[in-house]
């Protein structure tokens, strides 16, 4: 069912006085056009106008605009924050989208058609029928080495990435390894260096040759970018210092998983360290 036929059957929009999906059609159109360009040039940051949302910039407005521009009434939405379905921010975004676009919501990765996320990629493998929308605080991977936007755009245009590599070289000289734990820079489609949003290293390999479409939205910074399905995404690494994901000494203390990203929690009472799956939906599923 497309939006037009849905509108013919439904006299009013889900939230009276507002357009379907809250945003005006023209605003949605602009976001979709930016998304098309982003998909056509994998890893390239497309500027967009990023109009005001009913939440503050920096709280997920980029991801929200992408989600609102794409959802249809039959979609099933999952929203997570650092892997958790129940955080205040995730719950409120989910409620808001349900209210303005009448979508069903879920915590089951497998059942969701659209997943909006902050700082994690679900553990359960996703398919080509699904989309992952990532909220991005800092879209510019080169920002740490170059403060000027004019200059970083030139560097991207010319593929002039020596300074980014130098940054990693210095890291290795100083610490013996690359010390970046999240926002690990990747090369997309052998061309652009891209910030994958603050996902842990654990999630970076999931981007490579994935079946799923990944969309990135930075509302405050007004940038949209994308990784289309089956695109090469290679973390920056040296021949003698390879990229590595995190290792966990213990399995999840709740579900026993040894193959998921774990949060370390310190017990307030006895000070002991405990490890639990960061992806709560995944953990719940394994426990039932």
């Amino acid at each position: 069912m497309n939006l037009r036929s849905w509108q013919q059957n439904n006299k009013s929009t889900p939230l009276a006085g507002y357009n379907f999906g809250f945003m005006d059609d023209s605003a949605k159109k602009e976001v979709r056009r930016s998304l098309l360009k982003a998909v056509a040039i994998p890893g390239y940051q497309v500027p967009f106008s990023s109009p005001e949302m009913p939440i503050a910039r920096g709280w997920g407005t980029g991801g929200m605009q992408i989600t609102l521009s794409l959802v249809l009434p039959q979609d099933t939405l999952k929203v997570i924050d650092q892997g958790c379905d129940d955080s205040v921010n995730a719950v409120n975004i989910k409620k808001f989208v349900a209210k303005v676009a009448a979508v069903t919501s879920t915590t089951d990765t497998h059942r969701a058609t659209v997943i909006q996320t902050r700082h994690r990629i679900p553990e359960e493998p996703m398919t080509g029928e699904q989309m992952l929308v990532l909220q991005v605080p800092y879209p510019e991977a080169l920002r740490d080495v170059e403060p000027s936007e004019l200059e970083t755009r030139r560097m991207h245009a010319e593929g002039d990435y020596a300074r980014m590599w130098l940054h990693l070289y210095e890291d290795i000289v100083r610490y013996g390894e690359i010390s970046i734990s999240y926002r690990y820079p990747v090369t997309v489609n052998d061309r652009y260096i891209m910030d994958p949003s603050p996902i842990p290293r654990w999630d970076v390999p999931k981007l490579h040759m994935s079946e799923t479409l990944y969309l990135f939205g930075a509302g405050r910074e007004k940038r949209i970018y994308a990784i289309p399905p089956y695109t090469s995404v290679i973390p920056l690494e040296f021949e003698d210092h390879k990229f590595r994901v995190e290792k966990f000494p213990n399995p999840c203390q709740r579900c026993g998983s040894t193959n998921s990203y774990l949060d370390e929690i310190i017990n307030d009472v006895d000070g002991s360290r405990q490890y639990f799956c960061s992806d709560t939906g995944y953990c719940d599923k394994r426990c039932t």
Partner: protein
């Protein structure tokens, strides 16, 4: 033997420019500022050939346009007009294809290339050493890293091999390898200059641009840097463009010399001829003022 590099009619004007700019400036007019429109004619109609393994000197006082020439050749500033052609045999494989649209032995005008292509040529063929080490080095990044940056730009992705190359070059430039991971800001002026030279040599350039490299250094430090440059020239077999206001430096390093004044080349010739039989009034003044 054919020139490695041919420069023709190099001009650089800062400002709006007008029809009088060229006629109203130069050594006759004794100014490089156009009295009609206040544009600065930094250099005008400069021509030179640089041959393989040759050291060409450019001498003149501050503001004569000699550093402008270096900046134009290094693609740092856009030229107002002029052509720069490189002998095709000097081009590395990838770039040969990039510029494979002429039947001539020389590339088309390098000033007309995109910045991307110019940077590729610069990365592959050129090295530069500035008077001010702050221009050539990242002062907060390790010396080894400064050298590695050039290699990374050229596609090196092996830390061990890059560090090997960096140690080799630091040894050559007499920097203790134990200080490889220290940033140049910890070093003396002479050492910074030698790190700059090591960085400039990292990609095995065919063309080394030296812009007043010994100016501001103590005499004994100056001497060591000059010795190093002389050794490099005989060992690496590269061409150099040496800019200096110091005739002693020019005499020591260069076979041929151009004398610049107010943005124009007023005289060019064999270095010993310029020093012993200068023709132009300004060259005579320069030689007569030598300490």
């Amino acid at each position: 033997m054919e020139p490695l590099l041919k420069a023709r009619n190099l001009s650089k004007i800062f400002g709006s420019g007008c029809q009088h700019c060229i006629a109203a400036t130069g050594s006759e007019a004794e100014t490089n500022v156009c009295p009609h429109c206040n544009s600065v004619v930094a250099c005008n109609d400069v021509n030179f050939d640089l041959f393989p393994n040759e050291v060409l000197g450019i001498v003149g006082e501050s503001g004569s346009g000699k550093s402008t020439l270096i900046k134009l050749t290094h693609f740092e500033w856009e030229t107002t007009s002029g052509e720069l052609n490189l002998h095709r045999s000097a081009l590395p494989d990838g770039l040969g294809e990039l510029l494979a649209d002429t039947v001539d032995q020389y590339t088309r005008n390098l000033f007309a290339l995109s910045q991307f292509q110019q940077r590729q040529i610069r990365n592959a063929l050129m090295g530069i050493v500035y008077q001010n080490p702050y221009l050539g080095l990242r002062m907060n990044i390790s010396s080894g890293g400064n050298i590695a940056e050039r290699l990374l730009g050229a596609g090196w992705r092996h830390i061990g091999k890059m560090r090997e190359r960096a140690s080799e070059l630091l040894e050559k430039t007499e920097i203790p390898i134990s200080r490889m991971d220290e940033p140049p800001k910890n070093f003396s002026g002479g050492m910074q200059q030698r790190v700059q030279i090591a960085k400039a040599l990292s990609n095995n350039p065919l063309l080394l641009l030296l812009d007043e490299v010994t100016t501001g250094l103590d005499l004994s430090v100056q001497a060591r840097v000059l010795d190093l440059i002389r050794n490099i020239q005989s060992e690496f077999q590269l061409s150099m463009l040496v800019v200096s206001h110091d005739l002693g430096v020019i005499n020591l390093l260069c076979n041929r010399t151009m004398v610049m004044k107010h943005g124009r080349v007023v005289e060019s010739g064999l270095t010993d001829q310029i020093l012993q039989d200068p023709q132009h009034r300004y060259s005579q003044l320069l030689v007569a003022s030598q300490l």
